[in-house]
């Protein structure tokens, strides 16, 4: 499974949104499903799926689907989206 598929799956599972809504325009607090509770679940899901443990600054900073890709790449340079 590719990294982008894993990432999209994580967003679909954590935010409980259709796959079609997981795209570059998806942002924290702008989509009704991505609230603070969903954000906690998303972080847990991403840490599990990508086997990383985010710093608090990055958890706060992960404000969009695009940003999630950028932050994950920082933790694992071998990941490419």
């Amino acid at each position: 499974m590719t990294a982008i598929t894993i990432l999209v799956d994580a967003f679909v599972t954590a935010l409980e949104v259709p796959r079609s809504e997981v795209n570059e325009s998806l942002e924290y607090n702008s989509h009704k499903q991505w609230d603070s509770t969903a954000h906690m679940i998303l972080i847990a899901q991403l840490e599990n799926d990508f086997e990383v443990m985010f710093d608090i600054d990055d958890i706060i900073d992960m404000s969009s689907f695009t940003k999630a890709k950028e932050i994950l790449t920082k933790y694992n340079e071998s990941i490419s989206f």
Binding site: T37, M40, I41, I43, A44, E51, M53, I56
Partner: protein, 242 residues
């Protein structure tokens, strides 16, 4: 059931380790001193065959706590029960308390609990279930001369439990605290026998508590029997009025 216990070789912590080793599938134990942890592991493995990971960490050091949780995440990918037994008690009138001592007392008893809850809940969220139990103290609600900083920190624990229960309930995580009364552990060994007798006389049950009075309550709170209990502080004090 994957269990993490801090302050593992302390009075309540050690008793909790022996109790949880009976029904856990894996036990993670932590404390500051690796030698003491290893000695505890040796004792535990004489009686139980479950895997036990002993990881030394300073509960006030964010980086060390992160390494501990990275180890848990890598090893089991989950955490079901977190029990925060670590803490310190410095008996000192406020007027004679140095700033460093005040900071350390707050850090060991409160900030560490906040930090561990942050990491533990993140790991529990992966499975949308988990139970956190913190240790408060009767001092939080009743006060005790010479324990104002300790009491303030423990009152903070109770505030933490109330708010975090609201924050984490929707993701299947329960959090409660136990507020022990005077329990005979190394934490209170500096009390004289006269002082202990005086305190025992202030309890309804007429005796001091011991770790066996506390651990079954910890077990209950983390069991499915307590599945509808969260955000509570349960006094286990023999009816002590300070």
């Amino acid at each position: 059931m994957i269990v993490l216990i801090t302050g593992a070789y302390g009075g309540i912590g050690k008793a909790a380790c022996f109790s949880y080793a009976k029904n856990a599938t894996r036990l993670f134990i932590t404390g500051r001193d690796q030698d003491k942890l290893n000695a505890l592991v040796a004792e535990l493995t004489q009686n139980f065959s479950i895997p036990i990971d002993a990881i030394a960490a300073d509960i006030n050091d964010n980086a060390q706590v992160k390494v501990l949780f990275q180890h848990i995440a890598k090893t089991t990918k989950r955490l079901d029960v977190f029990l925060h037994c670590a803490g310190t008690l410095t008996q000192q009138p406020l007027m004679m308390s140095r700033f460093e001592m005040i900071q350390n007392e707050i850090a060991s008893n409160l900030t560490s609990a906040v930090l561990f809850c942050q990491f533990a809940s993140k790991l529990m969220m992966r499975n949308k279930q988990g139970v956190i139990t913190l240790l408060s103290s009767i001092v939080a609600s009743q006060g005790s001369a010479g324990q104002s900083v300790y009491g303030a920190a423990k009152a903070g624990i109770e505030g933490l439990v109330k708010s975090l229960a609201k924050e984490l309930g929707s993701v299947g995580i329960r959090i409660n605290a136990v507020a022990p009364g005077f329990i005979e552990t190394p934490l209170v060994e500096h009390f004289s026998s006269e002082e202990k007798t005086m305190i025992a006389n202030k309890t309804s049950l007429g005796r001091l508590g011991n770790v066996d009075d506390i651990v079954p309550v910890l077990q209950f709170l983390s069991s499915s029997n307590a599945r509808y209990i969260t955000g509570q502080v349960l006094a286990v004090d023999g009816g002590l009025v300070l």
